[in-house]
């Protein structure tokens, strides 16, 4: 249906419109056909009738024409008075002059001049008929009729009126009947629509459309209900799975929270209670060595020195472990960070510490320009502090220590690296590199707690990045890491840089 007014109407209205317009059109066509056929039939019947009448009048007039008896002819014509629609009748002699004439009371009595026109013709409301009067197959005169067709048009009008009335009545009846009928078709559809609406607004898949009819609509309702059933079951399954998942998540969260609390309490306790005795051991050893200087044999002084150093090492271990646990709990707070200045800061701090400890080593730093990146500056500084101090530490045996810091693009994201020409390690043990307390060198060769790279890895993972190493024994080591940067940001920042 392309009628714009009806596009948004209900199915019931559309059906009413279709049926009414079809009925109306059919009735109209039938009415027109009936009226047309009727008036045609009527007209031809009238024509035949008039022909017969003309025959009779002509036959009766032959004698009057033969004897030129106008009176007889007049009498014959007078009998036409019985036909009220007969307007005019004339009998012409063979030479065309009028022998007799008849006219209805309200019609003109002058006969038209005789013509040789068609025997019958209809002109407006009149039927004209002229016919030769024969006597022994010889034309002795002509008969002329003018007959008013008012009868036919009156009847046509009456018929048209009747057809109109019947059409209007039947359409009204159809409207009345149909207003009570739409339940048959439109109601099941409306109910289906209501159900669909209720389902979509309430999200309740338990609703079902009522089936009130068979046929295609019944099948439609059944299919709809079946579909709702599928959805309801799927929805219920999904809900159940979701509930289970939520419950599991809640349980796990609770477990994690309690474990986390325990861990926090543990680290707090470690921070306080483990450090305090270490401080005391350190302090009293020092006091002892100060007060007993000169009284104790040199061996004992050495032992005291060992105690102090062991204490310092354990203190370092406690601090490193606490830092690892702090990093694990800490949230990553990203901000735009210039890595070049960050690395430079770290390098200066390392140098300062080295100078303070009396080191005279010189290291060749090759620091490339690094990009600005979105990361937690405090944490990433720890990464560089660990990697750079490791590089310094493991190049100690080298006469010319070279440490290279830079970045490159790989798979659309920046990869940062720290390379050194130090003692390196065998790739056989590369998998142990980032484990807590895992060390690839002896304590007396290279001091350390085995916590630094574990902390570095934890920071990188917290950023969503990756860290890996490439090394060769005695040739040097290279550490690579990414910071889990989203590609466009990283690119923009690289360009901005």
């Amino acid at each position: 249906m392309t009628i714009p007014l009806l596009r948004d109407s209900s199915v019931g209205r559309k059906l009413t419109f279709v049926i009414l317009s079809t009925c109306g059109l059919a009735l109209l066509l039938a009415g027109v056909a009936i009226v047309t056929a009727d008036s045609f039939l009527l007209r031809s019947a009238l024509e035949k009738d008039l022909q017969a009448l003309a025959q009779i009048v002509a036959d009766n007039s032959t004698a009057a024409l033969a004897f030129d008896n106008a009176q007889d002819a007049q009498q014959t014509l007078a009998s036409l008075r019985a036909r009220p629609n007969m307007q005019q009748a004339c009998i012409y002699r063979a030479n065309g002059t009028v022998l007799a004439k008849y006219a209805a009371s309200d019609a003109t009595s002058e006969c038209p001049p005789k013509t040789e026109r068609a025997p019958t013709r209809i002109d407006g409301m009149n039927l004209f008929l002229s016919r030769p009067i024969l006597l022994n197959k010889e034309v002795v005169g002509t008969l002329y009729f003018r007959y008013q067709l008012g009868e036919i048009s009156a009847r046509t009008r009456l018929y048209s009126l009747l057809v109109g009335i019947i059409a209007i009545c039947s359409m009204l009846l159809a409207v009345v009947l149909f207003s009570r009928m739409p339940r048959l078709i439109s109601e099941p559809i409306s109910k289906l629509v209501e159900t669909a609406h209720a389902v979509s607004t309430n999200g309740d898949y338990g609703i079902r459309a009522a089936k009130t009819t068979g046929g295609e609509l019944g099948i439609l309702v059944d299919s709809f209900n079946e579909m709702l059933g599928h959805i309801q079951r799927g929805d219920a399954d999904l809900r159940k799975a979701q509930d289970e998942l939520e419950q599991r998540v809640a349980e796990r969260t609770n477990e994690l929270e309690s474990v986390n609390k325990e861990l926090q309490a543990f680290t707090y306790s470690v921070a306080h209670d483990l450090r305090a005795p270490l401080r005391h051991i350190d302090a009293f050893s020092r006091i002892l060595s100060e007060e007993a200087r000169g009284h104790l044999p040199p061996d004992c002084m050495k032992h005291l020195d060992r105690i102090v150093r062991a204490t310092q090492q354990m203190g370092q271990l406690v601090d490193d472990l606490l830092n690892l646990s702090r990093v694990g709990r800490q949230e990553v707070r990203r901000q735009t960070t210039g890595l070049t200045s960050l690395v430079d800061e770290v390098r200066k701090e390392i140098k300062e510490v080295a100078v303070q400890s009396g080191s005279t080593r010189s290291v060749e730093w090759q620091i490339a320009k690094l990009p600005f990146v979105d990361c937690d500056p405090g944490l990433v500084k720890q990464v560089y502090a660990n990697l750079l101090s490791n590089a310094v530490k493991y190049t100690r045996p080298r006469d010319r220590a070279i440490i290279e810091v830079g970045s490159m693009q790989s798979n659309g994201q920046p990869v940062f690296y720290v390379k050194d020409n130090g003692v390196g390690f065998s790739m056989k043990y590369a998998n142990k590199l980032f484990g807590v307390f895992q060390r690839l060198h002896r304590q007396e060769d290279f001091e350390g707690t085995g916590v630094g790279l574990a902390t570095v890895q934890r920071i990188i993972h917290k950023h969503g990045g990756k860290i890996w190493a490439e090394a060769e024994l005695d040739k040097g080591a290279a550490f690579y890491f990414t910071l889990g940067l989203e590609e466009p940001d990283a690119k923009e920042l690289l360009i901005a840089n």
Binding site: A271, H272, R279, H280, F284, I287, Q312
Partner: protein, 155 residues
């Protein structure tokens, strides 16, 4: 003893730590007028002249309180809060001297109104140096209002 003018109130429960702190202060010639209390309750008794300290001269509050965080009965933060809640003890400088430097402790201490927070260095030499610096600063460099300006202004 109670009539003596106390310069430093040391609140510390661990005898070893007490000894080391006193040692460090003495080492730096700062140990003349130290009062040592061993828990939070005793610290408040001293500060408000209650209990064993009811004879104390309230005209002369300590110039510095060195406060440990982990203490029996009342912990260091509770002592600090009570001090800051009372106008008589509010102006007394408090330095927290403790083993840990947990962020939560730092945040809470400063939010209550600590004047300084120091983590005891593991190395005793560093500790002595720290004690020297803080003693010099709080007892010599720092200025406090006269005690009569706030003594007796009880709530």
């Amino acid at each position: 003893m109670t009539q003596r003018e106390v310069e430093i109130l040391l609140v510390e429960d661990n005898p070893a730590d007490v000894e080391l702190a006193v040692h460090a202060l003495r080492h730096n010639n700062l140990a003349n007028q130290i009062e040592v209390v061993r828990d939070g309750e005793e610290a408040l008794d001293f500060l408000f002249g209650r209990g064993a300290f009811n004879q104390r001269d309230m005209e002369h509050p300590p110039k510095l309180v060195l406060l440990d965080l982990k203490l029996p009965k009342l912990d260091g933060l509770e002592v600090l809060r009570e001090m800051r809640d009372d106008p008589r003890t509010r102006p007394i400088p408090v330095v927290i001297l403790t083993t840990s430097r947990e962020e939560s402790d730092l945040v809470r201490s400063y939010s209550i109104g600590v004047n300084s927070y120091i983590q005891k260095p593991l190395n005793f030499d560093d500790f002595r140096d720290t004690v020297r610096q803080l003693g010099l600063y709080w007892l010599v460099v720092n200025q406090v209002p006269p005690s009569r300006a706030f003594a007796g202004k009880s709530e």
